[in-house]
Symmetry: C2
Subunit: 458 residues, 2 copies
């Protein structure tokens, strides 16, 4: 470590206790999609924090739509190059609350980790970047480039209004590079960098067979909503649970040589770590080694995130349910069109004999976006990350998460990367989500070091 960055790290380590309290405060705000009050509180908190950092803050609203959470734009620093940091202040729902060791919105520190909904995704990761800037300013006086935070409030529900918000100011999509919202290390501590983001298509299938729930004795005659839905859903998968309906992969771009090479270089022991973490002996579809990494990058998914019908309380209730619901989320890749995928699902359900099963939208859809995996911005992220974590960086084609980089970067082909200090067991989106505080400090340092490398590339 050079003296330049030793000072920086000292600043970071000294400030971590206070910053941790700050993250605790931020995570107390239950900024779920269903709670516009909490979303606006989180936006206000975010704006205030950016101002304390020294940023100019602009709260961008969709005109005449106060129910849409605003885009918080924070700008700071000078220089020929501009870096966009894409973040969000909304969080996934914390339910089921009973599965949390401590309440989702009462942040608690245990064993060096902060447990709360949003601790990692994305409040902790957002603040880590801000802390990196704060430490950089403290250590070196001025930032080496222009930074633009784009912090939205609908990321977890599909960024439905992000395009409209970005359209409000002509310059918001102009940049020389972008950081995707998060990033971290694999199970062995190696930094993971990604140059792409999945897109997403979500749909709720609703089956109604009866005017109202019948007594289950009528199962000799009456059509059952859960049985019909089960049969429709089963038609979407092969025997191993791999989705195989026609049209799911329509429009998918072929991998580049550089992408295939990056995948071939990925370590298979990380796959074993994933198996161990979730307690599984094998992946679906016999996907092992490079084939598993290939699926991770390119396989279009069709996940059942929620399924419900009839009586689900304690004991039993002998009803024949009139309705059944399944929420599916599909993770698409470039150049798939969400509407085309959805239309193909409709055609498939009709062809399988389920024209009566309704498809309802429950959140916004997003196209995917890849930038060049060999772009210099990824090299800059690699250099900063390798310096902090002391291990060679791994390059992934794409985040497996759905983030709205298409909306931010596709207009001008802005190259992008991830960087950060999250670990694989952060449980983003799940109960007991947590953020390792040492990883937070590392993320701050990586951010600061990256600024230098990025600025030098201009």
């Amino acid at each position: 470590m050079t003296d330049r960055y030793r000072t920086l790290r000292t600043t970071i380590d000294e400030r971590m206790p206070r910053w941790t309290e700050e993250l605790v405060e931020f995570c107390r705000i239950p900024s779920e999609a269903s709670d516009i009050g909490a979303l606006r509180a989180a936006a206000g908190w975010t704006a205030e924090r950016l101002r304390r950092l020294g940023a100019t803050v602009d709260i961008v609203e969709v005109p005449g739509q106060p129910e849409v959470p605003p885009l918080v734009v924070g700008e700071i620093g000078e220089g020929p190059r501009t870096l966009t940091m894409v973040q969000h202040y909304d969080v996934q729902p914390a339910a089921p609350h009973a599965l949390w060791t401590t309440p989702a919105y009462e942040p608690a520190v245990r064993d060096g980790r902060l447990y709360a909904r949003g601790a990692t995704d994305n409040k902790g990761e957002m603040l880590s970047r801000g802390w990196g800037l704060e430490a950089y300013l403290e250590a070196f006086g001025a930032l080496p480039c222009r930074i633009r935070f784009l912090i939205e409030g609908e990321e977890e529900s599909g960024s439905a209004h992000l395009d409209a918000l970005l359209d409000e100011r002509a310059d918001l999509r102009r940049a020389d590079g972008a950081l995707i919202e998060g990033g971290g290390v694999d199970a062995l501590g190696r930094p993971v960098l990604t140059a792409g983001a999945r897109g997403g298509v979500s749909v709720e299938l609703v089956c109604r067979t009866l005017k109202y729930d019948a007594h289950s004795s009528l199962a000799t005659m009456l059509p059952s909503a859960p049985i019909r839905l089960v049969l429709a859903l089963a038609s979407l998968y092969d025997a191993d649970g791999v989705p195989n309906w026609p049209g799911l992969e329509t429009g998918a771009r072929m991998p580049t040589e550089a992408q295939l090479a990056a995948i071939a270089a990925l370590p298979t022991e990380d796959l074993d770590a994933t198996k161990a973490e979730y307690g599984v002996s094998a992946f679906i579809g016999g996907r092992e080694g490079t084939a598993a990494w290939h699926a991770d990058a390119f396989a279009v998914t069709c996940n059942i995130q929620g399924l419900w019908s009839g009586y689900t309380g304690p004991g039993g209730n002998t009803i024949l349910p009139a309705e059944a619901h399944a929420r599916l989320d599909m993770r698409i890749i470039p150049d798939q069109d969400p509407a085309t995928v959805m239309a193909a699902l409709r055609v498939h359900l009709d062809a399988q004999g389920f024209p009566d099963i309704e498809m309802q939208t429950f959140e916004g859809d997003e196209p995917a976006y890849w930038s060049d995996i060999a772009d210099p911005i990824v090299d800059a992220a690699a250099a900063a990350s390798e310096a902090v974590f002391g291990q060679p960086a791994l390059r992934y084609v794409s985040m497996s998460g759905i983030v709205p980089m298409y909306q931010v970067c596709a207009h001008h082909g802005v190259p992008m990367t991830t960087l950060g200090g999250a670990t694989e067991d952060c449980r983003a989106h799940a109960p007991d989500e947590n953020y390792p505080l040492s990883g937070a400090a590392d993320a701050a340092e990586v951010t600061a070091r990256f600024l230098d490398a990025f600025a030098e590339q201009g």
Copy 2:
């Protein structure tokens, strides 16, 4: 109507307002299986009501098991013949509460019907029989036979302790005839009599694929609990939703000639009424006319009464669920053995590649029971019912409901029947369960008239 029964009916009609208040009071007790306090309150209310009728009451407990709701035994009347009236004071869970027009445990009268959980099944039906006895005593001074009420508190959850409770007193299963808990008229007002009861087998299928919920991006690799459960469930049904797994019908007794003749005599317009009531255009498996009645009597069902996995709240939550659950209830017929059916399901799931899917018991199982559809007790019920409703009675092989007549009647081959005033739109077990008050009065009259016919058969 003879003068004898004119007086009786006048008494019934005069007392209906007071009796309705009594039913309202009874239905306020939320005697669901999960609430032993409410169950004991309902048992106490029942005992007190029987005492007011003039019955000798015996509260039978399973020794040393205060968590088991007691059997309330009420005895009244003298004569050479004994009639058992099998009833229950527990109710199905009222959830989902949001689907009720008025709260399930705040009984409300609208358009001549009392709406509440238990209004028909079985609090209303139980009281109607008591009211019939009260009117008979008022009109004629003494009952023509011995009556024994057997009123349990676990009927809706499988009567797990009824055998043990009946064993507590040697004479409790001795009788010359028995009334099954309810009964009523079809959509055209024709009395429906049944001489059998389905048995039931219940099982919760539990699929666990992960230690905890994963982020749905891992759907490229990790096995999904809801997808696995969907595939397992789909293996239980044909394309039309008719269960077809090997072993479901193991042990089923062949229909008798008398049963087949009874089925052939059933009116197909009732089937149309059922379709209209539930808003369906066709029954499953192409079952129409006599084939539908045959299924009603003899087809073994495999109903999905509840199904759940992952996130089911508002909005979405991009998780890959670690667990999925389905509760099945199967309605079996004589001479099927519940344990054998359950074992066959296990064999089927294993053979289909789902040995990991657990089978958990959630309520008691019961064998089915049929008595002779041509027994004189059915003639007595027919005579009483035809006199009150003015239409010829229909004879069904079996109730489609699961009631514990095997436990009560099989030891001594006691013949049995139904009778009552419920209508097809009473919504038993469903939200907005209701009991037509005119039907309640009719049920009381039918009960009283039946006593004469039954006593004369001695």
